[in-house]
């Protein structure tokens, strides 16, 4: 086996050093009735060439090369070429969680920079080192609000990503209260403020909002924050499209901002691995779940970094920890950090502006074919349209032209049957949009 660095003689010598003859002797102490008495039924080991062949064949069966108008929490953005050579450096790729700070300054420094950039981007004061993804960051943010308020009722916007909501429900099924939904205005696609006001009370720990919401519509965070804070609850603002933060005012009035950073340098990759983030106010730092890197000095007085406030975490506080999270998404966070370094202050805004422009062109092209926008609220790079024929029909026609269409919303929102969510990014070309529009005829 090419990954095993021992000659047969060395292996034999090592066994001999242990007073053993055969590899089986290493397992002789296992009770006989637990030992596997046969070979594993897995085909003989393959060469690199064969492995690549296997995966190339799978890739060819997976819509390789198709333009796509899907967003809905997983976005196609250009990945600057410098990202992969940097993140595949062995020192980053093959290191563990930086518990031994002195020989992990590389990773620790990148985490510190990542935390800084996420805080700058979201308008929050502090951010953690990453969560699994946006969906699992949702219950983590809700639990954090529960700890902060000592209350246990959670409300969530009906326009929160439906799968984020499902994850929230899974995590909350054994909590005191089930999560309650606040509706959206069927005209604007924005949150129904009256419904929010009616459901907020002095037992509410958190209201979870998404902006831009699942329909792509930008919410009035300030007005919502005022309502939420008036009953002493915490406002959690989620996002799924990080590029939007290049153009949109950050949700400064939130208490916790959490979301998904996949847009920053990770391809959709059939849903993962992505990179969840969680940012908040400095005062709440002891309630943050997951890892945090902090600045300090070494014995020579030089600036150094280490993981800090670890007593919040499972390996120390065990059953009383803020979360059970251990492994996070460090390498994907590093991709995000490199992405932010590449685009920087100007680039992120320009990138966001291109997304806005493409989505406007898409909206106009589809409207010209009779597929009008369903909501009037402002949107970033995706929107809901109602084609003249069923969304399934549109997608079928698009597929005949080797184009992946939009998301049929009936899957998650029965009341929106006949409507679909479409997305355009800087990678969507005018020519692709024009061809896709043909499917709406």
């Amino acid at each position: 086996m090419r990954y095993l660095p021992k000659s047969p003689q060395e292996r034999q010598d090592m066994l001999a050093a242990l007073g053993m003859e055969r590899p089986e002797d290493l397992f002789a102490h296992l009770p006989a009735d637990v030992r596997l008495g046969r070979a594993l039924e897995i085909p003989t080991g393959k060469s690199e060439y064969e492995i690549i062949d296997y995966f190339k064949a799978r890739a060819a069966e997976s819509g390789e090369g198709y333009p796509s108008f899907l967003g809905a929490g997983a976005y196609r953005h250009f990945r600057p070429v410098v990202i992969d050579p940097l993140v595949t450096r062995g020192e980053f790729l093959t290191s563990y969680t930086p518990y031994q700070a002195e020989i992990s300054q590389g990773v620790l420094t990148t985490i510190f920079e990542f935390q800084t950039m996420v805080a700058q981007l979201t308008g929050m004061e502090v951010a953690n080192a990453s969560m699994y993804d946006g969906s699992t960051a949702t219950p983590e943010a809700a639990m954090m609000a529960i700890r902060l308020t000592g209350r246990d009722k959670v409300l969530a916007a009906g326009s929160l990503h439906p799968e984020y909501r499902q994850v929230l429900d899974t995590n909350f099924q054994h909590q005191a209260f089930p999560v309650e939904t606040v509706g959206y205005d069927p005209k604007t696609g924005r949150l129904d403020l009256a419904d929010l006001e009616a459901k907020l009370d002095d037992e509410t720990a958190a209201f979870i909002l998404q902006s831009p919401n699942f329909f792509g519509v930008i919410e009035d965070v300030k007005a919502i924050a005022n309502l939420v804070h008036s009953v002493g609850a915490k406002l959690v603002v989620m996002f799924t499209e990080a590029v939007s933060l290049g153009a949109l005012a950050p949700p400064k009035d939130a208490d916790i901002v959490a979301g998904e950073l996949q847009s920053f340098a990770h391809p959709p990759s059939y849903g993962g691995p992505y990179c969840g983030v969680l940012a908040t106010k400095r005062d709440y730092i002891r309630q943050i779940p997951g890892r945090l890197a902090g600045q300090t000095v070494d014995a020579d007085g030089n600036r150094a970094f280490c993981l800090t406030l670890s007593t919040r975490e499972q390996h120390i506080r065990r059953a009383k920890a803020t979360s059970n999270i251990c492994t996070n998404q460090a390498l994907v966070a590093l991709m995000g950090a490199v992405f932010m370094s590449v685009y920087g202050k100007e680039g992120l805004r320009e990138l966001a502006a291109q997304n806005v422009a493409k989505a406007r062109y898409l909206a106009e092209a589809l409207a010209a074919k009779g597929a009008k926008a369903v909501f009037t609220g402002p949107y970033f790079n995706e929107l809901v349209v109602r084609p003249k024929v069923a969304p399934a029909k549109v997608n079928e026609r698009a597929l005949e032209n080797r184009i992946i269409g939009g998301l049929d919303l009936a899957r998650f929102f029965p009341e929106l049957e006949g409507a679909m969510l479409v997305c355009a990014t800087e990678m969507t070309t005018r020519e692709q949009i024009d061809r896709f529009a043909e499917a709406f005829a």
């Binding site: 670890s310 007593t311 120390i316 506080r317 009383k320």
Partner: protein, 129 residues
Amino acid sequence: MYPADYRYTKEHEWVKIDGDVATVGITHHAQDQLGDVVFVELPKTGSKVHAAQSFGTVESVKAVSDIYAPLSGDVAEINEELVDTPETLNDDPHGKGWLIKVKLSDKGEVDALMSAEEYAAYVSAETES
């Protein structure tokens, strides 16, 4: 090492009784085991504490310890200074590093606590094993 006029618990807290008010802290041995204290979490003034139940935590870089109330009563005062200078707990555990003052509800509970001599013996027995 351990002030003779204090009483002690097996969980390594000390108590100094002054009328019906008890000052509570953790012992030199406790802070030594814990290492550099980085954070202290204390109850609110006015809240109730119950003998043998946890009322707060002391954190070092790599450990969290519950602090147990030696006696029952109402929290009359907390040591606010520890919020900004938790290291006081290491520097002066039996003095400036006190944690809370409790207005006792049952002075009889004091009798169950160890004397300085008993505690010193308890600590050396524990370290031996």
